[in-house]
Symmetry: D2
């Protein structure tokens, strides 16, 4: 039983070699008489490609960016967080199974900052220790892992391979970078975006919370950063 203190852990393991050129190709294919295989062969300078791509994205023609897929490994996120994450139905997931993987002696968990701040930290760790002991005891007595895990808490960490295209990546950022998102998924998505922006700095302006994109806040409780939409 260990606390994971450096959550979440994220790596970008596959990314398109040339996303700008790929998106430029997709945009040009829609509006050009030339064959896409010919467009692909031509050397076009980045500034020109970027100009077209930005114009197309601004007009909401987002299917052109679905051809860029990113693959991440994720660990050290609670199952509270992953239960939210897997609701993104345009993403693909392969997640560690609590039915098949026996956590005996290795159950790992997350501690929210508010619990530390309120002085509950020791009681929280004792709770996790007791939980781990009861789980281990049930496993020893041949309770199947899929049933013993009924006592494992939301705090228990999980691991995933997750992939998504750039259109869904922007949607994910728009929703989950908002301060009203759960703190853990917000951190996770921020790390995912940072890894993409490190490779492609020009994508930074799209990987933002929805208020920055829309120019207004549509949340019921606003953080005040942008004005709320008036009726």
């Amino acid at each position: 039983m260990t606390e994971n203190k450096e959550f979440p852990m994220v790596s970008l393991i596959n990314a398109p070699e040339n996303p700008l050129k790929t998106i430029y190709l997709a945009c040009r294919t829609c509006y050009s008489a030339d064959y896409p295989c010919n467009i692909w062969e031509k050397d076009v300078d980045d500034a020109k490609m970027l100009k077209l791509v930005k114009k197309v994205l601004q007009s909401g023609h987002h299917s052109t960016i679905e051809h860029c897929q990113y693959v991440f490994t994720i660990s050290g996120v609670s199952r509270a967080c992953t239960h939210q994450l897997v609701r993104h139905r345009h993403m693909s997931f392969s997640q560690k199974s609590q039915r098949y993987v026996v956590e005996q002696g290795q159950f790992e968990y997350i501690t929210p900052q508010t619990i530390k701040n309120a002085g509950f930290e020791d009681e929280y760790h004792v709770f996790m220790k007791n939980t781990a002991e009861f789980y281990d005891k049930m496993i020893e007595k041949r309770i199947p892992a899929e049933d013993a895990r009924f006592i494992l808490p939301n705090a228990a960490t999980s691991s995933l391979v997750a992939s998504l295209n750039l259109r869904e990546m922007i949607h994910l950022a728009n929703l989950r970078l908002c301060v009203s998102a759960q703190h853990e998924i917000r951190k996770l998505v921020k790390k995912m975006c940072d890894l993409v922006v490190k490779k492609e700095p020009w994508l930074g302006e799209y990987l933002v919370p929805k208020c920055e994109k829309n120019g207004f806040c549509d949340e019921i409780k606003s953080c005040g950063r942008f004005p709320q939409k008036v009726e």
Copy 2:
């Protein structure tokens, strides 16, 4: 804190008025010169409609059954179960939020049968009682519900409104009625199928585990009901 002993609870709250006629319409529209609004107006006897529909379904032309949507309310299922259920990306879900709904004094849970059988039932209930008390105490001290719930177990129940079309319903049945599926989701999907078949008995032959559909078992460990596929 209460144990939910009658899990899962399922109601069918919306179903297409005439699924057979709707699917017949969809099939005929593909292969007929007539306008679909005219096909819809004609009286065709059930036996004739059923004959065409079965033939089309047998040939794998399943987009014709996507026009029939079923809406269910579901409660008394563990979050272990719902984390699996929401992986069905062709379904629509509205799920009770542990971030916004405070479970204080009303935390409900499921007890797996294997835990009862192995003599761990009392210890399990004590564990749940302790968990509820710690949760309630954190809520009283103003820990936000979204963080206090980190100690809530997979056994905690959840509620959903879930909807899906008939194509996904058949897919769900094929996967989740298999004995290798988790017992709870298997029970849940069985109840969903029973409610549909009660209204439309002719659908019974499609809402079956995948082995019955395929004529062979593709699981790594087979229950022996159907022969395993040989290489």
Copy 3:
């Protein structure tokens, strides 16, 4: 060979019985400790339901409206139009097949208004007559319908059964009611929306072009109705 002058023809053949109550149920299930089957049984007056639903929709929580599905029959639309329509990947379609349905003696087509206005109407009808004759001749000589149709024009009409949930309906309206959409799909989607709004007048404010929803125009060429988004 006939011109279809009253295109497009649209009927709404299946709609949820009580969409407001269904959406209210979905919203309440997310934020309430009560079981959804209990929420469903309670009588709540429409004004109260509408108030919650509008608030939830305004905050962008649109998964709650996926539980309402609408089924339409559509005819008298060109295949130019249907090639666009079927790009809506969240919709379900059953479309008349030009591979299996032989159009001999019954090929139907659409005439765009601009062609009439520019004085090409007679030449256009002669062109369609010649096309029909060549098609019929090839069919008589046993050319398979799927190959003879290679000469059929984009103007040739098609028929579909199409279904979509309310979330996709709003998305469809946002995109296709814009004046920059093709005139035919714009008319089609307007008719679909009118049929829904006739049943549910409160949905009228959502089934609008994207500029009305956003408060600005994101098209590269604006019609001027709303200001364009400034950088």
Copy 4:
């Protein structure tokens, strides 16, 4: 106006660097206690990876292969063909627009073999020539391209950038390599599969028509290669 005789033209412009390792990672993540970032770093020999991957695929656990995306450029396919292709809702498409791209002087088309064989070839080319002339005349008289194209035939070629993950690739192959699929889409998908198999020969056994996968034919009219499923 030109006939495209070498249809379809297909290039694979983006493919995952190491699909076997990526799928192995996804499989292992589900069933291992180790972090996926650690699994990714380990050197495992291909034979061992292949053994696990084949076992997982055979048991129908296909979400593990969604992390591999392939991007193609496609040209020289008729719009009859692309209208079918874009029905694959798990694929992403950027298609040449007949609304925005003016085909004046450059309208290109496909001639089906059956039309050549039946002696209609000359008449077909004359038809295409007449069509091109009428189209060009309308464009000169300022008919918008989106309306002038109403006379363009299904035979008119189109271009696309198309991307899909390996799961959808297998599904596409299963459906479209069947002899009952339209000849053009069958050729197109065969070329796509060949490009993938050239890079990853081990995928060849999955990129097959559905009868090879299932061991039986579910078509209404069988080609006789596999026995039809008996009731």
